[in-house]
């Protein structure tokens, strides 16, 4: 049971980080669908910097920085130029797929999957001396992801700047009329989401495993988008949606071991995510009509 719970947390952590970023954007009134590409970029840059410096933590820092910069590709067109964020996100997601595969071949000299003994992964909490039951085999970024959810819930609900961000999303003109600089808040939200996706990508590539493979984000960014749609402005609800996805992924792995075809395990997280979306939308509709 502990092993299963640990697997759920491992599968959930990168999605939670991406979803938290998406939630900040959605609260500020920017629909961020670029999470998938940013997670992938974060995973690649984490491996790149870890390989170059020999330090996993410098890999994490490099990924956070590089993905924040990558998020400029969304924030400048969508916030400054007011281009359609959905179209821009389709472009940046495709760009991340191409850029990571291209740079991987140029820098590491091979496509597919890159792993090497030189590549240092994140230490587990057990290795750092904190041998807790479920959290022991996790990297420190896993508890950090869940603490960030708590922080976001507090920030959005209890602080002046968090409430202002929500106000901007609810009524930009009204927020502007009391002197808030709407574009600045939105840039900050999109770039913050980039930083969180960098962290999520680093956890994916240096925490869950220690390698980079092409397209390794594998739809997690889209699951995060769905989690944001389910959550509205409530981070705890987003966390619940991500945990559901993580449980589906961990369960899929388990069932694969018991003879379920791999294709069914691949499909399960998507179908369960969609099902959650349908159930949530249907109940919301029922509440409204009654």
């Amino acid at each position: 049971m502990n092993a299963f719970l640990a697997a759920v947390l491992t599968a959930t952590a990168p999605v939670v980080l991406a979803a938290l970023g998406g939630l900040l954007c959605s609260v500020s009134g920017v629909f961020n669908m670029a999470l998938e590409g940013q997670l992938l970029w974060g995973a690649f840059t984490a491996v790149l910097f870890s390989h170059m410096t020999g330090s996993a933590w410098l890999g994490v820092a490099g990924a956070v920085l590089a993905t924040t910069l990558y998020a400029l590709l969304l924030s400048v067109p969508a916030v400054t130029f007011r281009a359609d964020p959905v179209v821009v996100a389709v472009g940046t997601n495709l760009l991340a797929l191409g850029l990571t595969a291209f740079l991987m071949r140029q820098v590491f000299g091979s496509g597919g999957t890159f792993s090497s003994p030189d590549l240092s992964g994140l230490p587990t909490l057990a290795e750092l001396g904190l041998d807790l039951p479920v959290l022991g085999p996790q990297s420190p970024l896993v508890p950090a992801a869940f603490l960030l959810v708590a922080w976001a819930a507090w920030w959005l609900g209890r602080t002046r700047s968090g409430l202002r961000l929500r106000g901007i999303g609810q009524h930009a003109e009204a927020a502007e009329s009391i002197g808030l600089r709407v574009p600045a808040y939105r840039h900050a939200a999109v770039l913050g989401a980039g930083a969180l996706c960098g962290l999520g990508g680093a956890q994916l590539a240096l925490g869950n495993v220690t390698l980079f493979s092409e397209g390794m984000s594998a739809g997690r960014g889209w699951v995060a988008v769905v989690a944001v749609m389910l959550a509205g402005a409530r981070p705890w609800l987003g966390l619940a949606a991500c945990l559901l996805f993580g449980a589906a992924e961990a369960l899929g792995f388990r069932l694969q071991g018991l003879g379920l075809p791999q294709q069914a395990a691949d499909a399960a997280p998507y179908l369960i995510t969609l099902l959650a979306l349908v159930v949530a939308a249907a109940t919301r509709r029922k509440v409204r009509t009654v």
């Binding site: 359609d84 821009v88 495709l94 291209f102 739809g219 749609m229 069914a264």
Partner: protein
């Protein structure tokens, strides 16, 4: 959902060129062409790609000629043409729902399921290629059609539901090709060779260019006509431009959204069938999604920026880039993923260029 109600963008209404001498009018046309979002985006994307090349130590003066040769010369033209057909089909599959304001990002799933259904029908139903193609189109329409009630009844954006349905559809096709329909005894993830009677006849001298080319071209022309000149085409455009106004004008908006999604899916499924019934005449797991037709097509449609008649040309340009990328990899040792970089950049730049241009022309008027 998007904030912008018309993601396709209406053609900017510029005033007619002033009546002057011919040279000036030519000048106006040339300037409008050069400053059009499409030309600006392609130029900008190529410039940025060149910077990427130089940054990683690739000589652009070797890479670009290799790209052109790889797409158009040395007998490569027939492969480029063979890739053009599915990309054009997938472009229409994305464009039909987009005209109604819905994003169909599930092309890969619709394509794969259409392909495996065509293979199953060709293997087990016998007869000509007609039944497998119809089955493929129906399969695609069914998968995409699932997103319609989710959108109209539950308010789940099609962009999310089509994408979430895509991965399971690809997995299902992969499962069918590996187990129930697999070629016995080989252990390969592919179906047996399809019977001769179900194979698509060649079109012209090359066996790679089948009658899929005239078929897809004719269906595309039909759609372009329907979009521009018929009542449903007008209603769909009205729906994409302003949902509430269309409803007020008597358009059955939910039904139209469902029709466009299913029609887009049918196109994608048909493309899957056409690929499988062409060379190498079997469903090979992953062979339909690996070339990236779906996203090349999406980039092309967004590049055409709301002008459907420009879609075939935009698809041609991006197919040449894509096919040339393979040649560039062989000759200059540049990874072919470079073309994905170009496509991604084109989409980002075109989205900005379209907005900036419409604001600029709006200020001038």
């Amino acid at each position: 959902m998007t904030g912008v109600e018309n993601p396709v963008g209406t053609p900017p209404t510029t005033s007619a060129p002033a009546r002057g001498d011919g040279a000036r009018r030519v000048g106006v046309v040339v300037r409008r062409l050069v400053l059009s979002p499409a030309v600006l985006s392609v130029a900008g994307a190529l410039a940025l790609t060149t910077i990427v090349m130089i940054a990683v130590g690739v000589d652009p003066s070797l890479a670009y000629p290799a790209l052109v040769r790889g797409a158009l010369m040395d007998g490569n033209l027939e492969y480029t043409l063979a890739a053009y057909v599915p990309t054009l089909g997938m472009a229409v599959a994305f464009a039909i729902p987009l005209r109604a304001g819905e994003f169909n990002l599930g092309g890969d799933g619709q394509l794969s399921l259409g392909g495996i259904v065509a293979a199953a029908l060709a293997l087990h139903a016998g007869g000509s290629y007609v039944v497998p193609l119809v089955g493929a189109a129906l399969a695609g329409a069914l998968v995409a059609g699932l997103s319609a009630p989710l959108r109209t009844r539950l308010g789940i954006p099609a962009i999310v539901s089509t994408l979430l349905l895509s991965a399971p559809a690809v997995s299902l096709a992969s499962y069918l090709a590996r187990f129930p329909l697999a070629e016995p005894g080989t252990g390969l993830a592919q179906t047996p060779l399809l019977p001769e009677s179900a194979r698509l006849p060649a079109f012209g001298s090359s066996s790679y260019v089948t009658i899929a080319l005239p078929l897809v071209a004719a269906l595309t022309a039909l759609w372009l006509y329907a979009d521009a000149r018929t009542v449903p085409g007008y209603e769909i455009r009205a729906l994409g431009a302003n949902r509430e106004f269309a409803r007020y004008g008597g358009v059955r908006v939910d039904r139209m959204a469902a029709v466009t999604l299913a029609a887009g899916g049918a196109f994608a499924g048909l493309v899957g069938g056409l690929i499988v019934l062409g060379p190498p005449y079997r469903f090979v797991d992953g062979a339909l999604t690996a070339p990236g037709y779906t996203f090349t097509a999406i980039a092309a449609v967004l590049l055409a920026a709301g002008r459907p008649p420009a879609i075939p040309a935009a698809v041609a340009l991006l197919t040449i880039l894509q096919a040339g990328g393979q040649g560039m990899e062989r000759e200059a040792g540049v990874p072919s993923q470079l073309t994905q970089i170009v496509q991604g950049l084109i989409i980002v730049i075109v989205s900005v260029a379209a907005v900036v241009r419409s604001r600029w022309t709006g200020r001038q008027a």
